[in-house]
Amino acid sequence: MLFYVARCAAQLAVALVGIVTVAFFLMRAIPGDPAIYMLGDYATTESLAALRARLGLDLPVWQQYGMFLASAARGDLGASVVTGQSALAEIWSAVPPSAELAVAGMAIAIAFGVPLGIVAAVRQGTFVDVAVMALALGGISFPVFWLGLVAILVLSHDMGLFPALGATSEPGLWPAIHHLALPALVLGLSVAAYIARLTRSAMLEVLGQDHIRVARAMGVPERRIVWHLALRNAAIPILAVIGVTFAWSLGNAILVEAVFSRPGLGSTILKAILARDYQLVQAGVLVLAAAVVLLNTLLDLVYGAIDPRLRKA
C-alpha cells in the first residue's frame, strides 16, 4: 500500500512539471508582448527594452524556462506584470468562488448521474431507461452556456426561483447558496449526463457477470445485489469518469462563470491571457492542473481501496 501511495505521488510530480512546461511555452508562442501591453503603443524603444530586461524577457526562452522552473521549485511563480502582486496570491484569491462552483457542480452531477444510470441499467430497455438516456443525450449535446442562458430565462426571469446573478456580496450562508444554485445546477447537469451514461453501461456489464448470478441463486435480495454487490464492481469506471469530467467541468466552469457573472479563476485567467500576463497565467494553469491531478491521484488511491487486485500492481 505504501508503495502504491509513493507511486501516485511520483506521478503527481511528473504530471505537474509537464503541465507547467506546456503552459510556459504555449504562452510564449502566442503573439504579443507584455511590455507593449504595459507601456502602451507609444512607448519608446528604450523604455520597452528596459522593461523587457527587468522582466527577463530579453533572455533566450530556454533560459527564461530554467529560471522559471528554479523559482517555481521554491514555490515562487513570480509577480503579475499588471498588478505587481504575487501571481500565486492573486490566483489563490480567485480559487474559493471557483472551488465552490466546481464542488457544488460535481456534487449535483454525482447525485443525479449515478442513481439515474443505475436505474436505467436495472430497467434496461424499459421506458425509464429510454427516458433517462434521452435526457442524458440532451445534457451532453447542449452547450453549457446555452443551458445557462435558458436556465436564467426560465428559472430566474420567468419563474423567479433563483437570482440571475451567480454571486452576491450579501453576507450569510443562505444568500450564497441561493445564488450558487443555478450555476451549480447548470454545470452539474451537463456532467451528470456523462456520468449517467457511463454508470449505466458499467452496471449493465457487472449485472451480467457470473458472481451476480450466483448472488441471485443464493437468494440475496435484488436491492442488495444492485446497490451493494454490483455497484462496488462498477465503482471504478464510475470514479474514473468522475475524474475525467472534473477536468472538463473546470473548463465549463469558466463559461458558467461568464454567463452568471461570477468571479473566479475563469475570469481571472481570461483577463491575464488578454494582458499577456505570463506569470499570472502560469500560476492559474498550475492551480487548475494541480486540482485535476490531485483529484485523479486521490481516485487512484480509492481504486486500490475498492479493488484489492489493483493494490499489488
Partner: protein, 328 residues
Amino acid sequence: MTAATFELRGLTAAVPGETGAVRLVEEVSLSVSAGETLAVVGESGSGKTVTFTSALGLLPKPGRVIEGQALYNGTDLLSLAPESLRRVRGAQIGMVFQDPLTGLNPVFRVGDQIAEVLRAHLSIGRREARERAVQLLARVQIPDPARRVHDYPHQFSGGMRQRVLIAMAIALGPRVLIADEPTTALDVTVQAQILDLLSELREEEGMAMVLITHDLGVVARQADRIAVMYSGRVVETGRVDEVFRAPRHPYTISLFRSIPDLDAPAGTMLAPIAGAPPDPQRRPSGCAFAPRCFAAREADGCMSRRPLLTDEGHAVACHRQGMLEQAA
C-alpha cells in the same frame, strides 16, 4: 418410493424468437428425493442448465417458463411471489455453478460474501455471520479458515474458490443442492476432491442432490439415478446401474459407444455421434435425435411424431424401443 423433495413436472421454458417462442426445454419431468443424487447428463446446449435456472426463477430475461411446475416439498416455486421464491433460493435449495473463477465477487472478501448469503436469510449481526463463515470454510475443508475468511477471491486457487462457493451454497442447510458442472473448469486432480466433498456433504446433511454433468464417469461414481437430456427433452431416465447396464435410447447407446475404453484392443476407433444437435429454432418435427440416429425409421414415425417418455422406472422416449429390445 418416498415423496420427492424436488420435482419438475412438464417444465417448458422459452425465449421469444423471430417466428414465435423458441422452446429451450420442453416438458421436462424429473424428481429427486432426500439423500439421493440425480445426475442430469447431456451435451452442451441440451438444456440441462436452463432446466434448473428456470425452475428457480433465474432464467435471464426475456426467457420464461411457459408451462409446468417446479415443486419443492409440494409447493410450486413458479407460483410463488418473487420475494417468497427468493427466500427458498439459497436457503432451501442451494446451487453450485460451473466456473468458480468468475463465480465470486472480486471486490469483496470471501468471508463477507458468505456473510452476505447468511444475512440475506437470517437476522443475525455481522459478527455472528463472520463466525459462521469461518465454520463454513472449515466445513468445506479450507485450511486455516480464520485467516482465509479475510482473503479476496483472487488469493484462492480454482479448487479453493469452488469450495468457497460450495460453502455459500450449503450455508443455510438447504434440502436440495443443485451442482451445475461443478468440476468442469477444474484440474482433474481437484475434480475428484470437489466431487468427494459434495458427496460427503450430501450424506451428512441428507440433502437431495442434482448433479449436472457431461462426464459419464462422474455419473457412475456419484449418482443413484440418471436423466439423459437431448435437445431440451429428457430422452431416458432410470437408475444408474440399469441405464449403464442396458441403455435403451439410441442417443444414450451412442454416448456410451463414444467413451474411450482402456480395455479395447489398440487401434480401435472411437465412435463419435455424427452430426450436431439441432438448433432449438429448427428442431425436426419428429424425434429431435432422428437425423443422427442409427435406428430411426420413417415407418415408425421417427421423422413425424415426437416420442413421449414412457411411464416406467427405466423410462425412454423412443419409437423404436420394440426393435432395439429384440436386437438386444
